[in-house]
Amino acid sequence: MLRPRSLACRARHAPCVLAWQRLALVIVNSDVILVIVVCTALAFDFTNGFHDTANVVATSISTGAAPPQVAIAMASVLNFIGAFISIEVAATVANDVVDAAVITPTIVFAGLIGAIAWNLITWWFGLPSSSSHALIGGVVGSAVAAAGIDAVLAEGLVGKVLIPAVVAPLVAFGVAGIGIGIIYRVVGRQRPGPVTRGFRYGQVVSGGLLALAHGTNDAQKTMGVITLALIANGTLGAGADPPLWVIASAAAAIALGTYSGGWRIIKTTGSRIIKMDAAQGFSAQGAGSAVILASTHFGFPLSTTHVINGGVMGAGAGKRISAVRWGVAGNIVVAWLLTLPAAAAIGAAVYGLTRAFGTGALGPVVVSVLAIGLIVGLFARRSQQGAPVPAS
């Protein structure tokens, strides 16, 4: 922390002292906001793991390929490892979605709160929406509220987020559908016992691969947001890669979130969309892994939730169109469509609320306290209500 050089300076040069105090205040404020942003981003990462990764393990649990605790523990470890594999998506989030030159840590903070709020809303109602798109929507909404529409980099938002968001689940749907068709052609005449056992073993690998893919893509979004805040704060230069401490902390946060579970979402994805056999689970997970890993390689920030649900529906439709519970699938699609605009609206509102307390650290501090209080209240109420929603 910067301090006046000496008491003598303070006594003899009052204007000098005032200038130093102002500078110190700005720096302290800026650092406080940055610390709040980093903590909020890691909290978001935790909720991302809590909310999203359940989708990764849902198919393995649904088909009996792995006991829930084992599947979740394995997914947690592989999420952690996956976060270290690539930084392409982090680079996209940090540099290609909003103009880093006009972004401040407060904007990033408001976007994160918007994303967390939307995650909690969808968690409350048991809908597997996209944490990733909530994050991007939140940051875009707060950036627009703060600096106008010019703060958004349309090329990056459309080309690297919106179009892949539509294409990826459709590709997963198609790949899983073709995959299950091939499986039934190849092993359809074999005895079901060994075939089911074989695909359950296969699901251990495909589920693990999906968890690894999730770590590579989803943890990187948090890395990207923290990097964006560090660039906005002047701690890193424009276009910088995430430092190792950012990668490691994001990996740890998503892994912890994963381990903490998310039973409501498991129920929705694993049972309510489609009743699956092990072959369908393998096909869905294989399709999801392939799509997410390929997209990550090219820096597309996808949603694991979108992709795995696309794969699950494709595996169901490949066997029998009526096997998919299209009503539940329709609800999920609606949640997908709402995610970006809803998170953006909440992000913009949170930015307005934060700025109502001025440009310093007071706004983020107050909003953080309010958010923590709300989250604790929600969890307390949920724990009083008890068990997760039963699968229909």
């Binding site: 690539s86 459309v158 179009i163 073709i178 190849v186 060994p194 075939v195 690998v205 399709a287 090219f298």
Partner: protein, 78 residues
């Protein structure tokens, strides 16, 4: 619009996804087929055919693992 959509990377992503997803599923199905046939043929007392099925299944399993390994290596290479 072509720039906005980044057609090249998107097409590569789609192709890689289809090849990897369908390919690995097909090859792993062959591994399962080989394993299942090995059990059945062994019970029927046809060791030669059972061995061939096991060999095919084993090769397919190795190919599956190799494909997964190559996929991860490609991810880490960028």
């Amino acid at each position: 619009m072509a720039t906005l959509v980044q057609t090249g990377d998107l097409v590569k992503t789609v192709i890689a996804s289809v090849v990897a997803g369908v390919g690995v599923t097909a090859v792993f199905s062959m591994a399962i087929w080989g394993g299942a046939r090995f059990v059945d043929l062994s019970r029927e007392g046809r060791p030669l055919a059972a061995g061939a099925a096991a060999a095919l299944g084993g090769l397919a399993l190795l190919a599956t693992l190799a494909a997964v390994g190559v996929g991860i290596a490609v991810m880490m290479s960028k």
